[in-house]
């Protein structure tokens, strides 16, 4: 299919789909809404204080630098670190690449430990190092996604330059004990770097860089309902990273290029918004999450929750396998009903295999194919969740009806 055929086909597809009467957007894993006041702040920044280049010596440059610095101070105070310790990137993926590649280049050691359920930007960065003689070891997880601390303790050695484990898993919401991981690793060898992909942790759990005892942490703006295209890496003072992209002008050496000042302003506003009422937001998300999880498990047969129940689960994460259903069919049928979610099915992936996270926690292929990932936000209402609960059982019923293999009790 050529590019022009593709755009024609997309147009027809959208027209044929139509705009549903009621919509509930739950695909916040992949991207989603932006907080309205954040959008307004970005618009203002583009018009005024974010339009200049923050490294240039004239009034608009200075004003732009001032905006950038204010935004960074605000984020740093929330994370309990120094503004100098924040490096901006253009996504969480870039931040993960910088953390891993940037420290590998600088290290004499040749081994990295990552968990088996990391985001692919961590896994692929680590695996790329294998081509240059590095060893990658994957820490196994239990059936709820918690990493095996004994395995970690046993396998760190003098060759290890980094341990990278996400604070909150992006697919199944498992909240790892990063402090315990840091204590184990640093207790053995304080020169081993601890990196955490905190993209799904920010705004969901309190994050204090000093207390956690980590060296590097990645963040992503759109995961806190800020703009897309902005990420950040916390780099603890004294940690030496090497830039992995090269250029000229920037206020920061590690990520040369014009800072996306309006985007960064938006990111800082979104972080502020989420932390101003962190507890309230978290409680609201948990209520919606549990309403969704408990009712689905109760009302729909042959379902499995992926990841832990309760307090060790991210407050926004709902990941459920619907057996005898293929996930992509579910996402399309839900879309026709105005409900937008994603799936760990192989059909939604470029590779033949379904979600590596679900396989790592011991789910069988067919269980992974039938999984749906939904993320609630503090902006959803009980009525949104109830609409999903009204539609979802019907959707599952129809998809199961079409299959040659059906559950025994219908």
């Amino acid at each position: 299919m050529s590019y022009s055929d593709l755009s024609k086909s997309i147009n027809e597809l959208i027209e044929s789909h139509g705009i549903p009467k009621r919509e509930v957007y739950l695909d916040n894993e992949n991207s989603g809404l932006i907080i309205p006041e954040v959008l307004k702040a970005i618009e203002d920044a583009y018009k005024w204080d974010g339009k200049g280049h923050p490294s240039i010596t004239h009034l608009m440059g200075w004003i732009s630098y001032q905006s950038l610095y204010k935004a960074t101070e605000s984020i740093a105070s929330i994370l309990n670190c120094n503004p100098e310790e924040i490096v901006y990137t253009h996504s969480g993926t870039e931040a993960n690449n910088l953390a891993i590649m940037g420290s590998a280049i600088n290290s004499m050691r040749r081994k990295i430990l990552i968990s088996s359920i990391e985001h692919l930007s961590v896994i692929f960065s680590a695996e790329r190092l294998e081509r240059y003689g590095f060893k990658v070891m994957k820490i196994p997880v239990d059936k709820e996604g918690f990493i095996d601390l004994e395995f970690l303790s046993k396998h760190i050695d003098k060759e290890t330059f980094m341990v990278s484990v996400a604070a909150v898993n992006h697919e199944i919401g498992t909240i790892q004990d990063i402090k315990a991981i840091a204590d184990i690793v640093k207790g053995k060898d304080k020169d081993i770097l601890i990196h955490t992909d905190a993209c799904d942790a920010l705004g969901r759990i309190p994050l204090d860089m000093k207390k956690l005892g980590i060296d590097l942490a990645s963040f992503s703006s759109h995961k806190v309902y800020g703009p897309k295209g902005v990420g950040a890496l916390y780099v603890r003072e004294g940690i030496k990273l090497e830039s992995i992209i090269h250029g000229q002008l920037s206020t920061q050496k590690l990520w040369p290029g014009v800072e996306n000042v309006p985007g960064i302003v938006g990111f800082s506003r979104a972080v502020e918004f989420m932390h101003k009422n962190l507890r309230e937001n978290v409680l609201k998300m948990m209520e919606l999450r549990d309403r969704l999880i408990n009712n689905i498990l109760e009302r729909v047969n042959h379902t499995l929750l992926n990841g832990p129940f309760g307090d060790k689960r991210a407050p926004d994460n709902v990941n459920i396998s619907f057996l005898y259903c293929e996930g992509e069919a579910l996402t399309v049928e839900l879309s026709l009903n105005g409900i937008y979610v994603s799936s760990g099915s192989a059909c939604t992936s470029r590779v033949l295999e379904p979600s590596h996270v679900l396989l790592a926690i011991g789910r069988r292929y067919e269980e992974a194919h039938g999984s749906l990932l939904m993320k609630v936000t503090p902006f959803h209402t009980v009525s949104d969740i109830d609409y999903v609960l009204e539609i979802l059982p019907k959707v599952v019923k129809r998809i199961r009806f079409m299959s040659p293999i059906k559950p025994s009790e219908g």
């Binding site: 086909s9 597809l13 069919a329 399309v332 994603s342 979600s355 194919h369």
Partner: protein, 167 residues
């Protein structure tokens, strides 16, 4: 989740997904077959009612476990074979299915291949105890593809089980 592609298929796929034609079983089918598996994430069952006198397909139905393109491919194939002789039905290729659906994106070609694989298995099942002059002895590419997909999944599933029990 990680790498995904948008559903770039034509509107015909969405229409057939919404209102599939010929969905269900044929109770008195005289040929039927299954291709794919739950583990693959793709499975198509084809049921045929064949007029034994002239070897024409009078009725065809399907069931499908898989994505929207998979369901649409199976549905359109049952439309295409109705009224055809078995020999003509055998000649339908996955490209014909793709064309009928307004062009499948490359990642969905295998949906068409699996549908053809299931149909050809059903036709072979029809001839299981009968003589045919034209039926190829060796498996065709589409049938091999279905077989390979099923086998690959067995291997992958075993590999996952192994790696879980090792650690």
């Amino acid at each position: 989740m990680s790498s995904r592609v948008p559903l770039t298929y034509g509107k015909k796929v969405l229409e057939l997904f919404r209102n599939p034609k010929n969905l269900g079983k044929i109770e008195d089918a005289n040929a039927s077959a299954l291709a794919g598996s739950l583990a693959c994430g793709d499975m198509i069952a084809i049921y045929l009612k064949v007029d034994e006198l002239n070897e024409k397909i009078i009725d065809a139905k399907f069931e499908s476990y898989g994505c929207a393109a998979n369901i649409a491919a199976a549905s359109i194939l049952t439309e295409m074979v109705k009224g055809k002789g078995l020999k003509d039905a055998w000649r339908i290729s996955w490209r014909d299915i793709s064309d009928e659906l307004g062009g499948l994106p490359s990642v969905k070609y295998h949906c068409g291949i699996l549908a053809v694989g299931a149909l050809r298995r059903a036709i072979r099942a029809y001839y299981a105890n009968k003589h045919s002059e034209w039926l190829p002895k060796d498996l065709t590419q589409e049938e091999r593809h279905a077989l390979e997909e099923e086998k690959l999944m067995e291997v992958l599933a075993k590999r996952v089980q192994r790696s879980l029990s090792n650690e």
